[in-house]
């Protein structure tokens, strides 16, 4: 999905601000925790909308929509489209598939590991080749990665990596946007807006590159 960065930032900002609006008005959140959750929700939703149609965005929206506390906010943000979206993305079959696959993997792993364990218990030296070790490490890490990326459980191999790539870029953009928004609030909430010289604002803007 060819989405340029420029377009994405605008969409993100619009969606984020709208989400903040909605979350503020709908549920009158008292605690910081609630407010933080609603902000995070609108930020994630904004990121998903800004990115467009990818696997992880769909998974993210589905995940967000299934939590009970988010539903009202989502309804407020999406309006009429909420029903359409939820109907499309909440398919329980998907999760069944995941469960089934997990079982299969587990059983295979179990038998393989059991073999190793048995031979280890016998006392015979288990000659585990370095490739096997490497593969095990990799599998473990990719499992962790799958849990991190929304919708990553169902992917594997190169498609997982491409989703991770996409997701990392969007995350980075989200963090940058939120940072700048926060800085905007800081700047504007300082006492005299007129006293702030334009040059400092410009400097502020110039520092908003992503610093590795």
């Amino acid at each position: 999905m060819h989405v340029t960065k420029e377009f994405k930032k605008k969409t993100f900002l619009k969606q984020f601000l709208l989400g903040l609006h909605v979350s503020n008005s709908i549920s009158n959140p008292i605690s910081i925790e609630q407010r933080k959750n609603s902000i995070k929700l609108s930020a994630d939703l904004a990121m998903a909308f800004a990115r467009g149609r990818t696997h992880w965005t769909h998974a993210l929206i589905t995940k967000l929509g299934q939590k009970e506390e988010n539903k009202s906010t989502l309804k407020g943000i999406l309006g009429r489209r909420y029903q359409i979206l939820m109907a499309r993305y909440s398919c329980p079959l998907l999760y069944q598939k995941v469960q089934r696959r997990k079982k299969g993997v587990r059983s295979y792993r179990f038998s393989y590991n059991a073999q190793k364990r048995r031979s280890a218990l016998k006392g015979s030296c288990v000659r585990v080749s370095p490739s096997v070790v490497a593969r095990n490490l990799e599998n473990r890490r990719s499992k962790v990665l799958k849990r991190l990326v929304p919708g990553g459980e169902l992917l594997k191999g190169s498609s997982l990596l491409s989703e991770v790539l996409d997701y990392v870029i969007s995350l980075k953009a989200q963090v940058d946007m939120m940072k700048s928004l926060w800085r905007a609030t800081q700047v504007s909430s300082s006492s005299n807006v007129e006293l702030i010289p334009k040059c400092s604002i410009a400097k502020e803007g110039s520092f908003l590159h992503y610093s590795k």
Binding site: H2, V168, M178, S188, I196
Partner: protein
């Protein structure tokens, strides 16, 4: 030696080696001419091109690691062609150079993906073409044109067409099949490697994975020092986790600031953000806006401001902190303490009124990609 040999069934014994080379060379030239015509416009990696733009803009500077990678490849493969060893020096070199250029601009594949096969081609020489011809003969009584298309579908060895007339046909076919660009990776069997379909598919899969890993390596900071898939996966995991934690932290901070946005969202968005020019520093526009927006009032709660007061100056990006900015931030801390929650309630109501009259309109104006 006739340039076009038209045996119904190619067997290696029919053609001498130099004849094969000559035929192949002719094909490559034709294909190369076709490639170069449309390849200039062809974005070789459609899914990743935006990423380069994104990176450059996110960095606020022109930094195109992936584009430079793409552009750097032709040079690299050209350099690798010099290490080729062959019998018939002139034709072999020519053939190899054309092979490489042709392989760089594959018909249906991303040109990035063909780098690894290029490197492996340098030592291939006669054996490679030999094998290809063999494969062609195995597969091919049916239309050679179709066989090219079919053969490249799985991304395996390229099939060759050896007839003059079918060369013309392939030229037409290639020109007509410009638009669909699925992700094919052309792999050629190296000397001494298995050529059965399984290992080839394996190799294709591995190349794809390593390609993605390379992009990730560029993206994730600190990944250059680590080699190997496991270490890089580790770095990637750490990076994703840190980014997610940053999002949480930033949302907490924003919650503390409590943006009771009681400005006219419509006005704000339409006037301030949309007409913002697409400079390389788009964020400047966002920040300039608060100056114009006297309506943008952000009140902060007392208690959270106290909690986060000492955190805020720390959290400012370290290389970016300017003297004036820190002054502003610290000033806002003291001011934030002064704002009372009584202000908040009035703003809430005003904000909600604004919201409800804007909401249906706003939802429509927002891009809804789903």
């Amino acid at each position: 030696m006739a340039p076009c040999m038209d045996p119904p069934l190619l067997t290696p014994s029919d053609l001498s080696l130099s004849e094969k080379q000559r035929i192949y060379l002719n094909q490559q030239q034709k294909q190369y001419l076709n490639q170069s015509a449309y390849n200039s416009n062809f974005s070789p990696f459609p899914t990743f091109k935006p990423i380069t733009e994104e990176i450059s803009i996110a960095n606020g500077q022109v930094y195109n690691p992936i584009n430079s990678l793409v552009n750097g490849w032709p040079d690299f493969s050209m350099a690798s062609s010099t290490s080729f060893v062959g019998n018939d020096s002139d034709t072999m070199k020519e053939m190899n150079a054309n092979q490489i250029t042709e392989n760089m601009k594959k018909r249906k594949s991303e040109s990035n993906a063909s780098l690894k096969p290029e490197q492996s081609n340098t030592s291939e020489g006669q054996e490679g073409s030999h094998k290809k011809v063999k494969q062609d003969s195995k597969n091919g009584n049916h239309e050679r044109n179709v066989s090219i298309k079919e053969g490249s579908r799985k991304g395996k060895n390229k099939k060759e067409v050896t007839t003059e007339s079918s060369k013309d046909n392939t030229k037409d076919l290639e020109v007509s099949t410009v638009t669909p660009k699925p992700d094919y990776i052309h792999v050629r069997a190296r000397r001494g490697q298995a050529t059965d379909s399984h290992s080839l598919a394996e190799r294709v899969r591995r190349e794809r994975i390593s390609e993605r890993m390379r992009y990730l390596q560029e993206l994730v900071p600190g990944c250059n020092k680590v080699t190997g898939k496991a270490g890089m996966l580790d770095e990637i995991i750490n990076y994703v986790q840190s980014l997610q934690r940053q999002v949480e932290f930033l949302s907490m901070k924003l919650a503390a600031v409590n943006p009771t946005v009681d400005f006219d969202i419509d006005d704000f968005i339409n006037k301030q953000i949309i007409p913002s020019n697409t400079s390389c520093l788009p964020m400047v526009n966002v920040l300039n806006n608060p100056l114009d927006l006297s309506l943008l009032q952000f009140n902060s709660l007392q208690r959270p401001a106290n909690c986060y007061a000492f955190e805020m100056p720390i959290e400012n990006p370290n290389p970016a902190v300017n003297g004036s900015i820190t002054e502003q931030v610290s000033a806002s801390d003291t001011l934030g303490d002064q704002y009372l929650s009584a202000n908040l309630s009035s703003n809430w109501d005003a904000g909600s009124q604004n919201l409800y009259c804007l909401d249906p309109q706003q939802a429509r104006t927002l891009g809804f990609p789903f």
